[in-house]
Symmetry: C2
Subunit: 250 residues, 2 copies
């Protein structure tokens, strides 16, 4: 988000990060509130109406509180978004923990990527948050740790830098692929509700563009495409990435 700064005075940001800053003691005066309840309210709001619907006012209203009440628990809206991302990372960590243990680095990383995708399908806004800011919360570190530990089991990735590079590659692919899948899903949903728009604008637009002959390769693909379902498309790319990682020779 990166909105307005919070004071330009000496201390440019709170000295501690949101994940370990203590909550204010919840006094039962107006209504019991907590960082967790705030984040949960924001998440349901985002799940149902999209990330744009998450405004300080709306989240506060969902908790029967005034807008400024939240600023006792957060110091910025960006921190709320960070906490939302953390919550999803916690879901991913949970899914990882419930996986059957696998000695193979590849099945672990494969599951890892799919858990991320599943989480993004549950919470579409996660895709937008994924690469926007570094995620350093405890749950995010947990998932990162699991991925690194799995990668380290690959004989070719004994070197720390190599392992880090491999996990980074996997993360980059997953984030990019998921974001695009969500973007397409959103576009289809938006133009699918009143489907007439697709048929009257972007469909014809594309056919017109392809008819110019300037995009022969695209035209060839579009002509002969079977358009596999998103899950297998994701898996195909994932296989490429894992194949590439597997190809590393110590």
């Amino acid at each position: 988000m990166t909105t307005r700064r919070r004071t330009d005075t000496p201390e440019p940001e709170p000295a501690t990060l949101i994940w370990e800053r203590p909550e204010p003691a919840e006094r039962p005066s107006p209504a019991p509130l907590s960082r967790d309840r705030i984040v949960r309210a924001a998440m349901t709001l985002a799940d149902t109406d999209g990330l744009d619907a998450v405004s300080v006012r709306k989240v506060a209203a969902a908790l029967d509180a005034g807008p400024m009440r939240l600023y006792g628990y957060l110091s910025t809206k960006d921190e709320l978004l960070d906490l939302m991302a953390e919550a999803v990372h916690a879901e991913i960590a949970d899914a990882l923990a419930h996986d059957p243990p696998a000695a193979d680095w590849r099945t672990t990383l494969h599951a890892h990527a799919h858990h991320m995708r599943d989480a993004a399908l549950r919470h579409e806004w996660f895709a937008d948050l994924l690469g926007g800011r570094p995620h350093l919360g405890p749950a995010a570190l947990t998932t990162l740790d699991a991925a690194l530990a799995a990668a380290a089991r690959h004989p070719g990735l004994a070197d720390p830098d190599a392992a880090f590079g491999a996990v980074g590659t996997l993360h980059a692919y997953t984030a990019g692929a998921v974001r695009r899948e969500i973007a397409e899903r959103r576009a289809h949903r938006a133009t699918g509700l009143d489907k007439r728009q697709w048929q009257t604008s972007v469909g014809p637009y594309l056919t017109r563009m392809l008819a110019t002959g300037r995009y022969p390769a695209v035209a060839r693909i579009v002509a002969g495409a079977k358009t596999p379902d998103p899950a297998t498309a994701f898996d195909t790319g994932l296989r490429h990435v894992l194949d590439g990682i597997a190809a590393v020779t110590g």
Copy 2:
């Protein structure tokens, strides 16, 4: 952005997409304006002050025009962002066109990915726009076409779906990697200006977290990392991806 809709009346969006909708004839009455000038103004604004600084009012002000003047050329701010992304795709297409012709699919795709990264380093906001919405402008289609044509030269990618999948994988990796690199660069810049903050908050935070012993793999990596420069880190991941694509056997 996905802000407010523009009228909820019968036609939910303009029937034609922004890339082929004709501009209003420029009358020299107050000042010559054009979609191109608007986009350029928005781009310099975004380059210097970030994407958040691109507001209809500020762009209009940079062109000595009132805010509503722009809505003769665009029908939504999202369209402005689409046009900005298109402009960057045009830069990428230009860079591709100036590359020495290579028969090898791999060197072409390698160059492709690096051109995208270079463009994102020139225009950091591009990384945020990259996966957020489908890009269907002429320049975006041109770069896609070039990538698909290159992929088709790989004997294992004769099948259209396979070629599309490979290019999609490359795109997903590039988008994800670039976005993360930009996010890190931004974070470092933000906390590097008054570097004291890094040293007083996120640095100690991380050491505290790693000291808990809950993230042994992360700790091991951090301890023994050489932290390669971003360009070679990107290239390492790219090599993984291209290796994976190369592994496809028709």
